[in-house]
Amino acid sequence: MAEISLKNVVKRYGKVEVVHGINLDIEHNEFVVLVGPSGCGKSTTLRMIAGLEDISDGTVSIGPEVVNDLPPRKRNISMVFQNYALYPHMSVRENLGFGLKIAKHPDDIVAERVNEAAEILGLGELMERAPAELSGGQRQRVAMGRAIVRHPEAFLFDEPLSNLDAKLRVQMRTEIKKLHQKVKTTVVYVTHDQVEAMTLADRIVVMKDGYIEQVGTPMEVFNHPVNTFVASFIGSPPMNLLNATIKGDQVVFSDGTALPVPTRLADLVRDGQEVVFGLRPDDLTPVGHGIAESGKNAKLTLKIALSELLGTETILYTSISGQEAQGKMFGPRNVEPGEVLEFEVAIEKVHLFDAVTGKSVRKQ
């Protein structure tokens, strides 16, 4: 149990800089998820915390101590790898006990801690098996068991669920969440899957190209994305982002379609400003099939190109002023391609971004 703090952390491979001076403070027992597209530097950052990569610049502290020059074994962390990295020549029991034996704990303590971990993760039957005799989900569990037996200061996870099939992934996601509630330790978790990030995190760190774009709770990041990247990355299906221009108190698209500027943003935009109009599909719904409060909504008549049935809702593919957009139909009925529907736009849910900087228009 310790806080982890990154100060201006830089990683260079030769001359190529891949992490550009990031700052992050992680609190005691906090579950922090680093999320971002592949190649954005999440693993590199995590590995610098673990001590598996040198830190080119800046400092990493675990607890009160700067750990830049400490090898992994002295950082008192444990890590779960994407490919689990179980020791193939050892049984599950030996895998779990390996770290404790290396630390020269007496046999009875090793046995006790291994059994404790086995119980938490339900590994009872599997203890004498070799990793090769386990299913993907079981290997995953052993990897987590190996992480918890040492009672480390922090757990580091690098895409631990990406080798599992969809159903198991959801199940293990829940188990990881439960595990965190049980063992109460600082967790840094890396994933490229924003759903995983949303469901697991106390705080989400959205990364792109070696920079941190936004840090916040899942709700903050979802409801108040600071720029178009975060807006499009968090949420599924992604937020519609459409080019438009401010004219007076209206957002006007190139074909003349106009919608009112949300009242909360009215004072923050200037006439003639080029903006990106952001609208989540949930807030673009056919009349009678929405969840937004009616009254404050604007209306648009749109032609459906395609519909995608999901059961409780249907995704409607359409276009606004020639730019592709998606809406949602709750309590759906059959919709034929080419059908024209009247949509409600939840205006107060609209996000505006500056077209030049991509930054969200908001009170500073």
């Binding site: 673990a50 001590g51 598996l52 090898p71 992994p72 074994r73 962390i77 444990s78 890590m79 790898f81 994407q82 490919n83 689990y84 990295a85 179980l86 020791y87 193939p88 020549h89 390996f98 770290g99 290396i102 630390a103 990793p131 090769a132 290997r139 190996r146 040492r150």
Partner: protein, 285 residues
Amino acid sequence: MDGSLRKKIGSVATWGLTFILMVVICVPGLWVVLTAFRPNGEVLAKPPVWIPEDPNLNNFAKIFGFGADQVAIPVPAYFTNSLIIALTSTAIALLIGMSGGYAFARYRFSFKNGLFLGLMLSRTVPGIALSLPIFMIWSRIGLIDTKLGLIIVYVALNVPFTIWLIDGFFRQIPKEMSEAAQVDGCTRWQAFWKIEFPLAKSGIASAGIFAFLTSWNEYALASNLTRSTDSKTLPVGLMDFTAQFTIDWAGMSAMAVIIIIPALILTFLVQKHLIAGLTFGGVKG
């Protein structure tokens, strides 16, 4: 029906071909072993006598000096030389092979690919082509007719191969294994010995067997660089059976059997690893 018939013919053909191949591989060896137990006269008989008419151990007795008509050949000395030279050069080649293979598999460094290619290309030069230069250098620095001289040559001969083979094995072990061990509390050194070494063991054993057999059986260079019982190895000793006008084929065969036996024993001892090594791949976590 048609398909199953075709399958049967196919499998018969496969077995037939395998049989012919095995005959081609095995008959010379079998001939040597049989000849070791027959008198020299029978070797040259026409038509050939396959099974010795009166199998006996006379040839072996003669080699060890128990007969009247043959001077004893210093087999124990040759044997000791062979053993010392083959074992030492194998151990050194394995040590270098492990360090080199690990470095090539795990680290990035400049000229890595060039170096690796260079090592492999060095194998394209036939050893015998180097025998004259080696002979000249060795005679200048006094390594002719020493065990050390041969050991150095055999290490050089084996190292490219051991590096190549062991590199392949380390490459197949995900580097996360060693990283997990380091996070689990190991030093890099401990992580190597407790995790990576046991997983690459079969590869290292395979490399060791090949290196040993190369050194054990090598003749061309050894015959140039050795003179006396100080350093002559068993294959060179085989030449002791040729006199000016006669060759004692039977005695030579008996000696060949003596050479083959330790190699066979060693191969059997390590064969479990050898097979695991040659069919590596089931290790992934």
